[in-house]
């Protein structure tokens, strides 16, 4: 029924548009009033028909407009309740479409701005979450780094102390090397003295050997003299025997001579015995001399060996002295390097301490960043 009443106005509006349709209805009504005013009484039915048409057109227009207004109200109420502008499209009215579209365009632009902001906040929220995550990781890493750096600093401190001890040890090693050099030098000098002494010993040994040779010659002479004495003693014994025989032949006259001859023979025997003893002693002496000569020869050889070894030892000691000198220089150099290293490790230690401070500060900053990002996230979700 309602749609039947609204149909004429709806057809006009659909055909000519809202403004033109409304204008036509007004025009028809004005024309109707004019006709009613001017028409003769004889055309009363026509006049009444005209009145009915005019009224129905106005009624149709009113019903149409009211229906549209109620529809729009309902649409706006739904859109408002659901906060969704797509509701404005869901049930489009028949004649006030452009009016509703204007409202829709307005809300659409607002919702686009809202969407942009939402998008912006959504991205900010996501970025803040990422930032929180990163800041937390940085915080954990910085804390771990801080702990690791502290351990490193402690190790470096220990290293510095060790290097200080090494420097001190090197100083003692240097002193020992210096002493070793002195000892080597002294030893070398002593060996040189020893070599000189050995030379003197060799000279003395030479003199002794010469004396032994002379002694040998003297023993030879004594032996030849002893042999001559023995010969004399034998000849004397023979003479004494001959004299005894002659004395025996002389009888009583030769008795005294026999006594003398016996005495001479006894002297000869005694001389021979003495000569034999001398000869034996001299033979022993010669034997001893030969032994001494051999020993002296051995002494000479050993002295020469000792002298050679002493010379060799002297050379070795010289070498030791030279090497000790070199070692001393090396020790001085190493000591200087170690001192530098000690200073470097002290610097490293100080740097690491600064790194530790920085790491702790970073951890604190990361924690603050995380807090700020979290706050940012809460702002974007309001």
């Amino acid at each position: 029924m309602k749609s039947m009443i609204a149909l004429p106005a709806l057809v006009l509006i659909k055909a000519f548009g809202l403004k033109q349709g409304a204008f036509l209805i007004i025009f028809f009504n004005l024309a109707g009033y004019l006709y009613i005013a001017l028409s003769p009484e004889a055309y009363l039915p026509v006049t009444l028909l005209c009145g009915v048409v005019m009224s129905s057109l106005i009624l149709s227009m009113l019903v149409c407009l009211l229906d549209e207004l109620f529809t729009i109200d309902a649409i706006l109420a739904r859109a408002s309740q659901q906060h969704d502008d797509s509701e404005l499209i869901a049930s489009t009215p028949s004649i006030l479409t452009n009016h509703l579209k204007s409202v829709f365009d307005l809300t659409k632009e607002i919702s686009r701005e809202r969407d942009k902001l939402e998008e912006y906040f959504s991205e900010m929220k996501y970025s803040s979450l990422q930032m929180i995550d990163s800041a937390n990781k940085v915080s954990v890493n910085a804390t771990e780094q801080s702990a690791a750096t502290e351990s490193t600093a402690a190790a470096v401190n220990e290293l510095t102390v060790s290097l200080g001890e090494i420097v001190s040890k090197f100083s003692r090693v240097n002193e020992a090397a210096e002493r070793a050099t002195d000892f080597a030098h002294q030893g070398s000098q002593n060996i040189s003295d020893l070599v000189a002494e050995f030379d003197m010993v060799l000279k003395d040994v030479g003199d002794t050997q010469q004396a032994i040779t002379v002694l040998g010659e003297s023993i030879e002479t004594v032996l030849s003299l002893t042999s001559a004495i023995q010969t004399i003693a034998e000849q004397t014994n023979l003479l004494a025997l001959n004299a005894s025989i002659e004395a025996a032949r002389a009888g009583e006259m030769g008795r005294g001579f026999a006594v003398v001859a016996d005495e001479v023979r006894n002297l000869a025997a005694s001389s021979r015995e003495t000569a034999d003893t001398i000869s034996r002693h001299m033979a022993d002496l010669d034997s001893q001399r030969n032994l001494v000569a051999d020993k002296m020869h051995q002494v000479t050889q050993r002295s020469q060996t000792c002298s050679a070894k002493a010379l060799s030892t002297s050379e070795i000691l010289n070498h030791i002295e030279s090497e000790s000198e070199h070692s001393k220089l090396q020790v001085i150099e190493v000591s200087a390097i170690t001192t530098q290293q000690s200073k470097a490790t002290e610097e490293i230690s100080r740097s690491i301490e600064r790194v530790v401070e920085g790491a702790m500060e970073n951890a604190s900053i990361a924690q603050q960043t995380s807090t700020v990002a979290d706050y940012l996230r809460t702002l974007t979700t309001r």
């Binding site: 659909k14 055309y43 489009t92 579209k101």
Partner: protein
């Protein structure tokens, strides 16, 4: 007198009927023009998205992309010319804004920084997406709107999903070209992955409810392509610092995902055109 009045009333009815017929015809013509405009704008959006991706790889040092960029520009120019011939476009203020922005971007895009180029292109595509919605709403507010029930998402959420994939393609291809993923790239890509996941859920759920021509297998395929792209971005561009995937491989994968979504969208739009046309 009665005859005269009756004749006038009859004439009036005839006039109203003729006017009603003319109005309907005009509305239908406008409707057809609007559908054509929607198709062209959608095509321009696709080409501008591709232009954004190729410009990003060009600005990261891939000089060989310039040939494709110039070819795209020619294609876009042809479509702009075609659009300007449509009367419907004259009432759209965003079209003028697009033309102005595009002319400026076309002349300067090769000399911009990569982030600035991305920002300009994304803003331009944003204008086009709004334009697409504005134009498509003329269809929704037309007398035939009852036949387009629940299709609003086809020019609102669906193009936005394709746009998110396009943004991920542009950022990702630039990252793959330079071979490393910065923290900013990771945040951007991570955000886009989140958006693609959310939007693809919404879009494919709505589409499966109102799809006119798309089959379930096509929907699942496109949904899987979106999930695989997100997974690829996570594995190849977000987790590692050094990017090993080639820019062309990534561009092809992302483009394939966009193509699958666009095919679905085009099919649905064509179905609407066929239904209403």
């Amino acid at each position: 007198m009665i005859f005269v009045i009756s004749a006038l009333i009859a004439l009036l009815f005839i006039l109203v009927a003729i006017q009603l017929g003319l109005t309907k015809k005009k509305q239908k013509q406008q409707f057809q023009s609007t559908l054509t405009l929607v198709a062209i704008i959608k095509r321009i959006i696709g080409l501008t998205q591709k232009h954004r991706g190729l410009t990003a790889t060009y600005l990261q040092g891939n000089q060989s992309a310039s040939t494709d960029i110039y070819a795209l520009r020619n294609e876009i120019s042809g479509l702009i010319k075609q659009t300007n011939e449509l009367e419907q476009v004259n009432i759209e203020s965003r079209w003028e804004a697009y033309l102005d922005h595009w002319q400026r971007l076309e002349s300067s895009s090769m000399g911009l920084t990569a982030p600035e180029s991305f920002k300009q292109h994304t803003s331009l595509i944003g204008t086009l997406l709004y334009l697409l919605q504005d134009v498509a709403e003329h269809i929704e507010f037309s007398d035939m709107e009852q036949q387009l029930k629940d299709t609003h998402f086809l020019w609102r959420e669906f193009p936005q999903l394709v746009e998110y994939i396009g943004q991920a393609r542009a950022v990702g291809v630039a990252t793959a070209t330079k071979g490393e993923s910065t923290q900013i790239d990771k945040v951007k890509l991570g955000y886009l992955c989140e958006k693609i996941n959310l939007m693809s859920d919404t879009v494919f759920n709505k589409l499966s409810a109102v799809a006119q021509v798309s089959e379930n297998s096509q929907l699942n395929q496109a949904k899987q392509a979106c999930l695989q792209l997100v997974s690829l971005i996570n594995e190849q561009l977000i987790k590692p610092n050094k990017v090993s995937i080639g820019n062309q491989e990534y561009f092809a994968t992302a483009s394939s995902t966009m193509d699958q979504c666009n095919t679905l969208l085009d099919n649905e739009l064509n179905a609407i055109v066929n239904k209403l046309g």
